[in-house]
Protein backbone atom coordinates (compact mmCIF):
# COMPACT_ATOMS: atom_id res chain seq x y z
CA UNK A 1 0.00 0.00 0.00
CA UNK A 2 2.85 2.36 0.72
CA UNK A 3 4.62 1.53 -2.51
CA UNK A 4 3.82 4.87 -4.20
CA UNK A 5 6.45 6.42 -1.98
CA UNK A 6 9.02 4.50 -3.97
CA UNK A 7 7.27 4.06 -7.31
CA UNK A 8 7.16 6.59 -10.08
CA UNK A 9 4.29 8.83 -11.12
CA UNK A 10 3.10 6.37 -13.73
CA UNK A 11 2.68 3.49 -11.28
CA UNK A 12 1.00 5.77 -8.78
CA UNK A 13 -1.49 6.83 -11.39
CA UNK A 14 -2.14 3.23 -12.47
CA UNK A 15 -2.70 2.20 -8.86
CA UNK A 16 -5.16 5.07 -8.45
CA UNK A 17 -7.14 3.87 -11.47
CA UNK A 18 -7.18 0.30 -10.15
CA UNK A 19 -8.43 1.53 -6.77
CA UNK A 20 -11.15 3.52 -8.54
CA UNK A 21 -12.39 0.36 -10.25
CA UNK A 22 -11.95 -1.67 -7.09
CA UNK A 23 -14.41 0.60 -5.25
CA UNK A 24 -16.90 0.42 -8.11
CA UNK A 25 -16.61 -3.37 -8.34
CA UNK A 26 -16.98 -3.89 -4.61
CA UNK A 27 -19.96 -1.56 -4.32
CA UNK A 28 -21.64 -3.28 -7.27
CA UNK A 29 -21.10 -6.64 -5.60
CA UNK A 30 -22.55 -5.40 -2.31
CA UNK A 31 -25.85 -4.76 -4.06
CA UNK A 32 -25.67 -8.06 -5.96
CA UNK A 33 -25.58 -9.82 -2.59
CA UNK A 34 -29.21 -8.76 -2.15
CA UNK A 35 -30.05 -10.31 -5.53
CA UNK A 36 -30.45 -6.92 -7.24
CA UNK A 37 -28.35 -6.34 -10.34
CA UNK A 38 -27.62 -2.71 -11.12
CA UNK A 39 -26.49 -1.47 -14.51
CA UNK A 40 -26.45 2.08 -13.21
CA UNK A 41 -22.94 2.27 -11.78
CA UNK A 42 -21.83 4.74 -14.47
CA UNK A 43 -24.95 6.78 -13.74
CA UNK A 44 -24.19 7.27 -10.06
CA UNK A 45 -20.52 7.71 -10.88
CA UNK A 46 -21.51 10.50 -13.27
CA UNK A 47 -23.97 12.12 -10.88
CA UNK A 48 -21.23 12.22 -8.25
CA UNK A 49 -18.71 13.58 -10.75
CA UNK A 50 -20.96 16.37 -12.05
CA UNK A 51 -22.22 17.34 -8.58
CA UNK A 52 -18.65 17.65 -7.33
CA UNK A 53 -17.41 19.56 -10.37
CA UNK A 54 -20.34 21.98 -10.47
CA UNK A 55 -20.37 22.72 -6.75
CA UNK A 56 -16.61 23.22 -6.75
CA UNK A 57 -16.82 25.54 -9.73
CA UNK A 58 -19.95 27.54 -8.96
CA UNK A 59 -20.05 27.52 -5.17
CA UNK A 60 -16.25 27.56 -4.79
CA UNK A 61 -16.52 24.51 -2.57
CA UNK A 62 -13.36 22.89 -1.23
CA UNK A 63 -12.50 19.89 -3.50
CA UNK A 64 -12.74 17.35 -0.67
CA UNK A 65 -16.06 18.81 0.45
CA UNK A 66 -17.33 18.68 -3.12
CA UNK A 67 -16.48 14.97 -3.22
CA UNK A 68 -18.71 14.45 -0.19
CA UNK A 69 -21.43 16.42 -1.98
CA UNK A 70 -21.00 14.07 -4.95
CA UNK A 71 -21.62 11.08 -2.69
CA UNK A 72 -24.70 12.70 -1.14
CA UNK A 73 -26.12 13.58 -4.56
CA UNK A 74 -25.71 10.01 -5.78
CA UNK A 75 -27.28 8.73 -2.58
CA UNK A 76 -30.24 11.08 -2.97
CA UNK A 77 -30.73 9.93 -6.56
CA UNK A 78 -30.57 6.30 -5.42
CA UNK A 79 -33.12 6.95 -2.67
CA UNK A 80 -35.60 8.49 -5.13
CA UNK A 81 -35.03 5.70 -7.63
CA UNK A 82 -35.02 2.95 -5.00
CA UNK A 83 -38.16 4.11 -3.22
CA UNK A 84 -40.02 4.10 -6.54
CA UNK A 85 -38.58 0.99 -8.20
CA UNK A 86 -37.37 -1.40 -5.51
CA UNK A 87 -40.90 -2.54 -4.73
CA UNK A 88 -40.43 -4.42 -8.00
CA UNK A 89 -37.12 -6.15 -7.69
CA UNK A 90 -35.02 -8.31 -9.96
CA UNK A 91 -35.37 -7.71 -13.68
CA UNK A 92 -37.57 -4.60 -13.40
CA UNK A 93 -35.02 -2.95 -11.19
CA UNK A 94 -32.13 -3.95 -13.47
CA UNK A 95 -33.84 -2.40 -16.51
CA UNK A 96 -34.57 0.83 -14.66
CA UNK A 97 -30.93 1.21 -13.68
CA UNK A 98 -29.90 0.47 -17.26
CA UNK A 99 -31.88 3.53 -18.37
CA UNK A 100 -30.52 5.69 -15.57
CA UNK A 101 -27.09 6.33 -17.08
CA UNK A 102 -28.55 7.27 -20.46
CA UNK A 103 -31.14 9.60 -18.93
CA UNK A 104 -28.55 11.52 -16.96
CA UNK A 105 -26.22 11.69 -19.92
CA UNK A 106 -28.99 13.24 -22.01
CA UNK A 107 -29.95 15.69 -19.28
CA UNK A 108 -26.36 16.79 -18.78
CA UNK A 109 -25.79 17.19 -22.50
CA UNK A 110 -28.84 19.40 -22.86
CA UNK A 111 -28.19 21.84 -20.02
CA UNK A 112 -25.26 23.79 -21.50
CA UNK A 113 -25.78 26.73 -19.18
CA UNK A 114 -25.24 24.62 -16.09
CA UNK A 115 -23.14 21.66 -17.18
CA UNK A 116 -21.29 22.94 -20.21
CA UNK A 117 -23.38 20.75 -22.47
CA UNK A 118 -21.69 18.30 -24.84
CA UNK A 119 -18.27 19.90 -24.38
CA UNK A 120 -18.28 19.31 -20.66
CA UNK A 121 -16.82 21.54 -17.97
CA UNK A 122 -13.23 22.18 -17.03
CA UNK A 123 -12.23 22.97 -13.46
CA UNK A 124 -9.49 25.56 -12.90
CA UNK A 125 -7.30 23.03 -11.14
CA UNK A 126 -7.13 19.34 -10.24
CA UNK A 127 -7.36 18.26 -6.63
CA UNK A 128 -4.14 18.63 -4.59
CA UNK A 129 -2.87 20.63 -7.61
CA UNK A 130 -2.55 17.36 -9.47
CA UNK A 131 -0.21 15.69 -6.97
CA UNK A 132 -0.44 11.98 -7.90
CA UNK A 133 0.78 10.74 -4.52
CA UNK A 134 -1.92 12.60 -2.61
CA UNK A 135 -4.54 11.46 -5.11
CA UNK A 136 -3.40 7.90 -4.53
CA UNK A 137 -3.80 8.28 -0.76
CA UNK A 138 -7.28 9.74 -1.27
CA UNK A 139 -8.41 6.79 -3.39
CA UNK A 140 -6.75 4.34 -1.01
CA UNK A 141 -8.70 5.87 1.87
CA UNK A 142 -11.96 5.62 -0.09
CA UNK A 143 -11.14 2.00 -0.98
CA UNK A 144 -10.42 1.10 2.64
CA UNK A 145 -13.71 2.61 3.77
CA UNK A 146 -15.51 0.69 1.00
CA UNK A 147 -13.82 -2.55 2.11
CA UNK A 148 -14.78 -1.83 5.72
CA UNK A 149 -18.43 -1.28 4.76
CA UNK A 150 -18.41 -4.45 2.66
CA UNK A 151 -17.01 -6.44 5.59
CA UNK A 152 -19.55 -4.91 7.93
CA UNK A 153 -22.25 -6.12 5.56
CA UNK A 154 -20.74 -9.62 5.74
CA UNK A 155 -20.31 -9.79 9.50
CA UNK A 156 -23.39 -8.20 11.03
CA UNK A 157 -27.03 -9.17 10.79
CA UNK A 158 -27.19 -7.20 7.56
CA UNK A 159 -25.56 -10.35 6.18
CA UNK A 160 -28.57 -12.50 7.06
CA UNK A 161 -30.87 -9.87 5.62
CA UNK A 162 -29.18 -9.54 2.24
CA UNK A 163 -28.51 -13.27 1.93
CA UNK A 164 -32.08 -14.25 2.64
CA UNK A 165 -33.43 -11.60 0.27
CA UNK A 166 -31.22 -13.01 -2.48
CA UNK A 167 -32.10 -16.64 -1.84
CA UNK A 168 -35.76 -16.54 -1.06
CA UNK A 169 -37.92 -13.50 -0.46
CA UNK A 170 -40.68 -15.56 1.12
CA UNK A 171 -38.34 -16.96 3.75
CA UNK A 172 -36.90 -13.51 4.29
CA UNK A 173 -40.32 -11.99 4.90
CA UNK A 174 -41.49 -14.73 7.21
CA UNK A 175 -38.28 -14.39 9.23
CA UNK A 176 -39.38 -10.87 10.06
CA UNK A 177 -37.43 -8.97 7.43
CA UNK A 178 -38.57 -5.76 5.79
CA UNK A 179 -37.15 -6.54 2.34
CA UNK A 180 -37.95 -3.17 0.81
CA UNK A 181 -36.26 -1.24 3.59
CA UNK A 182 -33.08 -3.28 3.32
CA UNK A 183 -32.94 -3.18 -0.47
CA UNK A 184 -33.30 0.62 -0.47
CA UNK A 185 -30.71 0.93 2.29
CA UNK A 186 -28.08 -1.14 0.47
CA UNK A 187 -28.84 0.59 -2.83
CA UNK A 188 -28.39 4.03 -1.25
CA UNK A 189 -25.12 3.08 0.46
CA UNK A 190 -23.56 1.50 -2.63
CA UNK A 191 -24.67 4.37 -4.86
CA UNK A 192 -23.13 6.86 -2.45
CA UNK A 193 -19.82 5.02 -2.78
CA UNK A 194 -20.09 5.15 -6.57
CA UNK A 195 -20.89 8.86 -6.36
CA UNK A 196 -17.87 9.54 -4.17
CA UNK A 197 -15.61 7.61 -6.54
CA UNK A 198 -17.02 9.53 -9.51
CA UNK A 199 -16.53 12.80 -7.68
CA UNK A 200 -12.90 11.99 -6.94
CA UNK A 201 -12.43 11.05 -10.56
CA UNK A 202 -13.79 14.44 -11.68
CA UNK A 203 -11.60 16.27 -9.17
CA UNK A 204 -8.58 14.25 -10.20
CA UNK A 205 -8.88 15.13 -13.90
CA UNK A 206 -10.52 18.53 -13.34
CA UNK A 207 -12.87 17.70 -16.17
CA UNK A 208 -16.35 16.26 -16.70
CA UNK A 209 -18.12 15.52 -19.97
CA UNK A 210 -21.27 13.58 -20.87
CA UNK A 211 -19.44 10.91 -22.85
CA UNK A 212 -16.36 10.56 -20.68
CA UNK A 213 -18.06 10.70 -17.30
CA UNK A 214 -21.16 8.61 -17.99
CA UNK A 215 -18.98 6.10 -19.83
CA UNK A 216 -20.53 2.61 -19.91
CA UNK A 217 -17.07 1.24 -19.05
CA UNK A 218 -17.67 2.37 -15.47
CA UNK A 219 -20.54 -0.11 -15.37
CA UNK A 220 -19.11 -2.95 -17.43
CA UNK A 221 -15.55 -3.18 -16.10
CA UNK A 222 -16.59 -3.49 -12.44
CA UNK A 223 -19.03 -6.23 -13.42
CA UNK A 224 -16.27 -8.05 -15.34
CA UNK A 225 -13.98 -7.72 -12.34
CA UNK A 226 -16.61 -9.22 -10.01
CA UNK A 227 -17.24 -12.09 -12.41
CA UNK A 228 -13.54 -12.82 -12.56
CA UNK A 229 -12.83 -12.49 -8.86
CA UNK A 230 -16.05 -14.06 -7.65
CA UNK A 231 -19.25 -12.51 -6.41
CA UNK A 232 -20.85 -12.34 -2.96
CA UNK A 233 -17.66 -11.66 -1.03
CA UNK A 234 -15.26 -8.83 -0.26
CA UNK A 235 -12.23 -10.70 -1.51
CA UNK A 236 -13.62 -11.61 -4.95
CA UNK A 237 -14.08 -8.09 -6.37
CA UNK A 238 -10.74 -7.03 -4.90
CA UNK A 239 -8.93 -9.88 -6.66
CA UNK A 240 -10.84 -9.19 -9.86
CA UNK A 241 -10.01 -5.49 -9.81
CA UNK A 242 -6.32 -6.07 -9.11
CA UNK A 243 -5.91 -8.74 -11.78
CA UNK A 244 -8.03 -7.26 -14.52
CA UNK A 245 -6.91 -3.71 -13.76
CA UNK A 246 -3.20 -4.58 -14.04
CA UNK A 247 -3.62 -6.82 -17.08
CA UNK A 248 -5.65 -4.16 -18.87
CA UNK A 249 -3.08 -1.48 -18.18
CA UNK A 250 -0.26 -3.66 -19.47
CA UNK A 251 -2.16 -4.61 -22.60
CA UNK A 252 -3.06 -1.01 -23.38
CA UNK A 253 0.64 -0.43 -23.86
CA UNK A 254 1.25 -3.58 -25.90
CA UNK A 255 -1.66 -3.33 -28.27
CA UNK A 256 -4.16 -0.48 -28.26
CA UNK A 257 -7.71 -1.57 -27.43
CA UNK A 258 -6.34 -5.12 -26.98
CA UNK A 259 -7.55 -5.00 -23.39
CA UNK A 260 -11.13 -5.17 -24.65
CA UNK A 261 -10.39 -8.52 -26.30
CA UNK A 262 -8.90 -9.75 -23.07
CA UNK A 263 -11.94 -8.66 -21.05
CA UNK A 264 -14.17 -10.64 -23.35
CA UNK A 265 -11.92 -13.70 -23.27
CA UNK A 266 -11.50 -13.57 -19.49
CA UNK A 267 -15.23 -13.31 -18.85
CA UNK A 268 -16.01 -16.16 -21.24
CA UNK A 269 -13.37 -18.41 -19.71
CA UNK A 270 -14.37 -17.63 -16.15
CA UNK A 271 -18.03 -18.32 -16.80
CA UNK A 272 -17.16 -21.60 -18.53
CA UNK A 273 -14.46 -22.89 -16.20
CA UNK A 274 -15.19 -21.42 -12.78
CA UNK A 275 -18.55 -19.69 -12.59
CA UNK A 276 -17.99 -18.97 -8.91
CA UNK A 277 -14.91 -16.86 -9.70
CA UNK A 278 -11.37 -16.97 -8.33
CA UNK A 279 -12.40 -16.33 -4.72
CA UNK A 280 -15.15 -18.93 -4.96
CA UNK A 281 -12.70 -21.46 -6.38
CA UNK A 282 -10.24 -20.77 -3.59
CA UNK A 283 -12.94 -21.20 -0.96
CA UNK A 284 -14.03 -24.47 -2.52
CA UNK A 285 -10.44 -25.73 -2.49
CA UNK A 286 -10.10 -24.70 1.13
CA UNK A 287 -13.26 -26.52 2.17
CA UNK A 288 -12.14 -29.64 0.32
CA UNK A 289 -8.78 -29.69 2.05
CA UNK A 290 -10.30 -29.47 5.51
Amino acid sequence: MAFPLYAGVYLQHTATIILTYLCLALSWDMLVRTGQISFGVAGFFGIGAYSAALTALNLKLDPLLSIAVGGLAAMAAALVLGLTTLQLRGMYFAITTLALTEIFRVIVRNLPGLTGGPEGTVLPSAIFDGDPTKTYWLLLAIALVTIAISEAFQRTRVYFAITSIRHDEMVARSSGLDIFKYAVFVFAVTSAIQGIVGASFAQQYAFVSPEGTFDIDFTLLPIAMCLLGGMHSTLGPIIGALVLGSVAEYLKLQLPYGHLLVYGAVITLVILLMPQGVAGKMKEQFVREQ
Binding site: F160, A161, S164, H167, M170, R173, S174, S175, G176, D178
Partner: protein, 233 residues
Protein backbone atom coordinates in the same frame (compact mmCIF):
# COMPACT_ATOMS: atom_id res chain seq x y z
CA UNK B 1 -54.73 -17.45 19.88
CA UNK B 2 -55.22 -17.46 16.10
CA UNK B 3 -58.67 -17.13 14.59
CA UNK B 4 -59.38 -17.16 10.87
CA UNK B 5 -62.99 -16.17 10.27
CA UNK B 6 -64.79 -16.54 6.98
CA UNK B 7 -61.97 -15.69 4.60
CA UNK B 8 -62.29 -15.86 0.83
CA UNK B 9 -59.18 -15.95 -1.33
CA UNK B 10 -58.92 -15.69 -5.09
CA UNK B 11 -56.13 -16.18 -7.60
CA UNK B 12 -57.54 -14.07 -10.40
CA UNK B 13 -61.02 -15.47 -10.88
CA UNK B 14 -60.17 -18.78 -9.26
CA UNK B 15 -61.97 -19.07 -5.93
CA UNK B 16 -59.43 -20.86 -3.74
CA UNK B 17 -60.70 -20.44 -0.19
CA UNK B 18 -64.44 -20.25 0.48
CA UNK B 19 -65.66 -18.67 3.73
CA UNK B 20 -62.97 -20.56 5.57
CA UNK B 21 -62.95 -20.54 9.37
CA UNK B 22 -60.38 -22.20 11.59
CA UNK B 23 -59.08 -21.62 15.05
CA UNK B 24 -55.80 -22.49 16.75
CA UNK B 25 -55.54 -22.27 20.53
CA UNK B 26 -52.64 -23.27 22.77
CA UNK B 27 -52.52 -26.66 21.02
CA UNK B 28 -51.34 -28.43 17.91
CA UNK B 29 -53.76 -28.40 15.02
CA UNK B 30 -53.61 -30.39 11.80
CA UNK B 31 -54.70 -29.13 8.41
CA UNK B 32 -55.29 -31.97 5.96
CA UNK B 33 -56.34 -32.14 2.37
CA UNK B 34 -55.26 -33.19 -1.10
CA UNK B 35 -53.12 -31.14 -3.48
CA UNK B 36 -54.87 -27.92 -4.44
CA UNK B 37 -57.24 -27.96 -1.47
CA UNK B 38 -55.97 -24.57 -0.33
CA UNK B 39 -53.67 -25.46 2.55
CA UNK B 40 -50.76 -23.35 1.38
CA UNK B 41 -53.05 -20.50 0.37
CA UNK B 42 -54.50 -20.44 3.87
CA UNK B 43 -50.99 -20.36 5.32
CA UNK B 44 -50.01 -17.56 2.96
CA UNK B 45 -53.11 -15.62 4.02
CA UNK B 46 -52.20 -15.97 7.70
CA UNK B 47 -48.60 -14.95 7.00
CA UNK B 48 -49.66 -11.92 4.97
CA UNK B 49 -48.27 -13.33 1.72
CA UNK B 50 -51.75 -13.53 0.12
CA UNK B 51 -54.59 -11.08 0.78
CA UNK B 52 -58.08 -12.43 1.49
CA UNK B 53 -60.92 -10.64 -0.31
CA UNK B 54 -63.24 -11.03 2.68
CA UNK B 55 -63.17 -12.18 6.27
CA UNK B 56 -60.79 -11.55 9.14
CA UNK B 57 -57.67 -13.05 10.66
CA UNK B 58 -56.97 -12.26 14.30
CA UNK B 59 -53.88 -13.20 16.28
CA UNK B 60 -53.94 -12.57 20.03
CA UNK B 61 -56.67 -9.97 19.60
CA UNK B 62 -54.89 -8.15 16.75
CA UNK B 63 -56.09 -8.18 13.18
CA UNK B 64 -53.40 -9.41 10.81
CA UNK B 65 -55.10 -8.09 7.68
CA UNK B 66 -53.14 -5.26 6.13
CA UNK B 67 -49.95 -6.13 8.00
CA UNK B 68 -46.83 -6.95 6.00
CA UNK B 69 -45.33 -10.45 6.43
CA UNK B 70 -42.38 -9.18 8.45
CA UNK B 71 -44.71 -7.41 10.87
CA UNK B 72 -46.68 -10.63 11.31
CA UNK B 73 -43.42 -12.49 11.98
CA UNK B 74 -42.58 -9.88 14.63
CA UNK B 75 -45.90 -10.62 16.38
CA UNK B 76 -44.76 -14.20 16.91
CA UNK B 77 -45.79 -16.37 13.97
CA UNK B 78 -43.04 -18.41 12.30
CA UNK B 79 -43.32 -20.35 9.08
CA UNK B 80 -41.52 -23.44 7.85
CA UNK B 81 -42.26 -23.16 4.15
CA UNK B 82 -42.96 -26.05 1.85
CA UNK B 83 -39.71 -27.47 0.49
CA UNK B 84 -36.64 -26.67 2.49
CA UNK B 85 -35.83 -23.10 1.53
CA UNK B 86 -32.55 -22.97 3.43
CA UNK B 87 -29.49 -20.98 2.45
CA UNK B 88 -27.40 -23.86 1.08
CA UNK B 89 -23.97 -22.18 1.09
CA UNK B 90 -24.41 -20.71 4.56
CA UNK B 91 -23.29 -22.82 7.52
CA UNK B 92 -25.87 -24.48 9.74
CA UNK B 93 -25.13 -21.93 12.47
CA UNK B 94 -25.76 -19.03 10.11
CA UNK B 95 -29.03 -20.52 8.96
CA UNK B 96 -30.17 -20.80 12.57
CA UNK B 97 -29.05 -17.28 13.43
CA UNK B 98 -30.83 -15.87 10.42
CA UNK B 99 -34.10 -17.03 11.99
CA UNK B 100 -33.57 -14.79 15.01
CA UNK B 101 -31.48 -11.96 13.61
CA UNK B 102 -34.34 -9.71 12.56
CA UNK B 103 -36.83 -10.28 15.34
CA UNK B 104 -35.85 -8.08 18.29
CA UNK B 105 -37.42 -10.25 21.00
CA UNK B 106 -35.78 -13.40 19.62
CA UNK B 107 -32.36 -11.82 19.16
CA UNK B 108 -31.86 -11.44 22.89
CA UNK B 109 -32.63 -15.10 23.56
CA UNK B 110 -30.61 -16.43 20.63
CA UNK B 111 -28.26 -18.57 22.75
CA UNK B 112 -30.89 -20.30 24.89
CA UNK B 113 -33.20 -20.90 21.94
CA UNK B 114 -30.33 -22.48 20.04
CA UNK B 115 -29.74 -24.84 22.97
CA UNK B 116 -33.41 -25.83 22.80
CA UNK B 117 -33.06 -26.53 19.06
CA UNK B 118 -29.99 -28.70 19.77
CA UNK B 119 -31.95 -30.66 22.37
CA UNK B 120 -34.62 -31.34 19.77
CA UNK B 121 -32.19 -32.09 16.95
CA UNK B 122 -28.79 -33.04 18.41
CA UNK B 123 -27.43 -33.78 14.93
CA UNK B 124 -27.53 -30.06 14.09
CA UNK B 125 -25.01 -29.35 16.82
CA UNK B 126 -22.54 -31.74 15.21
CA UNK B 127 -23.11 -30.13 11.82
CA UNK B 128 -22.83 -26.55 13.06
CA UNK B 129 -20.00 -25.39 10.78
CA UNK B 130 -21.10 -27.33 7.71
CA UNK B 131 -22.87 -25.62 4.78
CA UNK B 132 -26.59 -26.37 4.96
CA UNK B 133 -26.57 -27.70 1.40
CA UNK B 134 -24.39 -30.65 2.46
CA UNK B 135 -26.95 -31.98 4.97
CA UNK B 136 -29.22 -34.91 4.21
CA UNK B 137 -32.87 -34.25 3.34
CA UNK B 138 -34.05 -35.07 6.84
CA UNK B 139 -31.36 -32.93 8.47
CA UNK B 140 -32.23 -30.02 6.21
CA UNK B 141 -35.87 -30.27 7.26
CA UNK B 142 -34.79 -30.28 10.92
CA UNK B 143 -32.72 -27.21 10.21
CA UNK B 144 -35.66 -25.46 8.56
CA UNK B 145 -37.79 -26.17 11.64
CA UNK B 146 -34.91 -25.10 13.87
CA UNK B 147 -34.61 -21.82 12.02
CA UNK B 148 -38.31 -21.11 12.50
CA UNK B 149 -37.99 -21.93 16.21
CA UNK B 150 -35.10 -19.47 16.51
CA UNK B 151 -37.66 -16.69 16.00
CA UNK B 152 -39.08 -17.74 19.37
CA UNK B 153 -42.59 -17.90 17.92
CA UNK B 154 -45.89 -18.22 19.78
CA UNK B 155 -47.27 -20.08 16.79
CA UNK B 156 -45.26 -22.16 14.37
CA UNK B 157 -46.76 -23.10 11.01
CA UNK B 158 -45.36 -26.13 9.19
CA UNK B 159 -46.22 -26.56 5.53
CA UNK B 160 -45.89 -30.26 4.60
CA UNK B 161 -42.75 -31.02 6.60
CA UNK B 162 -42.90 -34.72 5.65
CA UNK B 163 -42.61 -34.00 1.92
CA UNK B 164 -39.88 -36.11 0.31
CA UNK B 165 -38.64 -37.68 3.55
CA UNK B 166 -38.30 -41.38 4.25
CA UNK B 167 -40.87 -42.80 6.73
CA UNK B 168 -38.48 -43.33 9.66
CA UNK B 169 -37.37 -39.68 9.46
CA UNK B 170 -41.00 -38.54 9.33
CA UNK B 171 -41.77 -40.52 12.50
CA UNK B 172 -38.83 -38.93 14.28
CA UNK B 173 -39.72 -35.44 13.05
CA UNK B 174 -43.35 -35.72 14.13
CA UNK B 175 -42.18 -37.11 17.47
CA UNK B 176 -40.45 -33.81 18.17
CA UNK B 177 -43.68 -31.87 17.61
CA UNK B 178 -44.79 -32.81 21.14
CA UNK B 179 -41.71 -31.07 22.56
CA UNK B 180 -42.14 -28.08 20.28
CA UNK B 181 -45.70 -27.79 21.59
CA UNK B 182 -44.28 -27.04 25.04
CA UNK B 183 -42.97 -23.80 23.54
CA UNK B 184 -45.41 -22.83 20.84
CA UNK B 185 -48.76 -23.64 19.31
CA UNK B 186 -48.52 -25.63 16.10
CA UNK B 187 -50.41 -25.49 12.83
CA UNK B 188 -49.40 -28.49 10.73
CA UNK B 189 -50.44 -28.72 7.07
CA UNK B 190 -49.96 -32.27 5.83
CA UNK B 191 -50.92 -34.90 3.30
CA UNK B 192 -49.45 -37.64 5.46
CA UNK B 193 -52.57 -37.94 7.61
CA UNK B 194 -51.71 -41.25 9.22
CA UNK B 195 -48.51 -39.97 10.84
CA UNK B 196 -49.91 -36.52 11.59
CA UNK B 197 -52.86 -37.83 13.56
CA UNK B 198 -50.41 -39.23 16.10
CA UNK B 199 -48.82 -35.83 16.57
CA UNK B 200 -51.74 -33.41 16.80
CA UNK B 201 -54.59 -32.62 19.19
CA UNK B 202 -57.19 -31.52 16.69
CA UNK B 203 -57.54 -31.28 12.94
CA UNK B 204 -59.40 -29.85 9.98
CA UNK B 205 -59.93 -31.56 6.63
CA UNK B 206 -59.82 -29.05 3.80
CA UNK B 207 -61.36 -29.93 0.43
CA UNK B 208 -61.83 -27.53 -2.49
CA UNK B 209 -61.19 -24.54 -0.27
CA UNK B 210 -63.80 -25.47 2.33
CA UNK B 211 -63.67 -27.22 5.68
CA UNK B 212 -65.10 -30.69 5.01
CA UNK B 213 -64.57 -32.04 8.50
CA UNK B 214 -63.16 -31.06 11.84
CA UNK B 215 -62.59 -32.86 15.13
CA UNK B 216 -60.02 -34.16 17.57
CA UNK B 217 -57.38 -36.61 16.43
CA UNK B 218 -59.25 -39.68 17.66
CA UNK B 219 -62.55 -38.78 16.02
CA UNK B 220 -60.82 -37.95 12.71
CA UNK B 221 -58.99 -41.27 12.82
CA UNK B 222 -62.31 -43.05 13.30
CA UNK B 223 -64.19 -41.11 10.62
CA UNK B 224 -65.27 -43.16 7.60
CA UNK B 225 -64.47 -40.42 5.06
CA UNK B 226 -60.99 -39.87 6.50
CA UNK B 227 -60.35 -43.61 6.61
CA UNK B 228 -61.41 -44.10 3.01
CA UNK B 229 -59.86 -41.01 1.42
CA UNK B 230 -56.77 -40.35 3.50
CA UNK B 231 -55.77 -43.48 5.36
CA UNK B 232 -56.43 -45.94 2.56
CA UNK B 233 -58.43 -48.28 4.78
Amino acid sequence: MLAVRGIDNYYGKLHVLRALTIEVGRESVGLFGPNGAGKTTLINAIMGLARPARGEIVFEGRSLLGLAPHQIAHLGIALVPQERELFPLMAVKGNLESGAAHIPAAREKMKSTMEFVFELFPILKQRLGQPAGTLSGGEQRMLAIGRALMANPKLIILDEPSLGLQPSVVTHLFGTLKEIKQKASILLAEQNVRQSLKAIDRGYVLENGEIALEGDAASLAGNEHVKRSYLGL
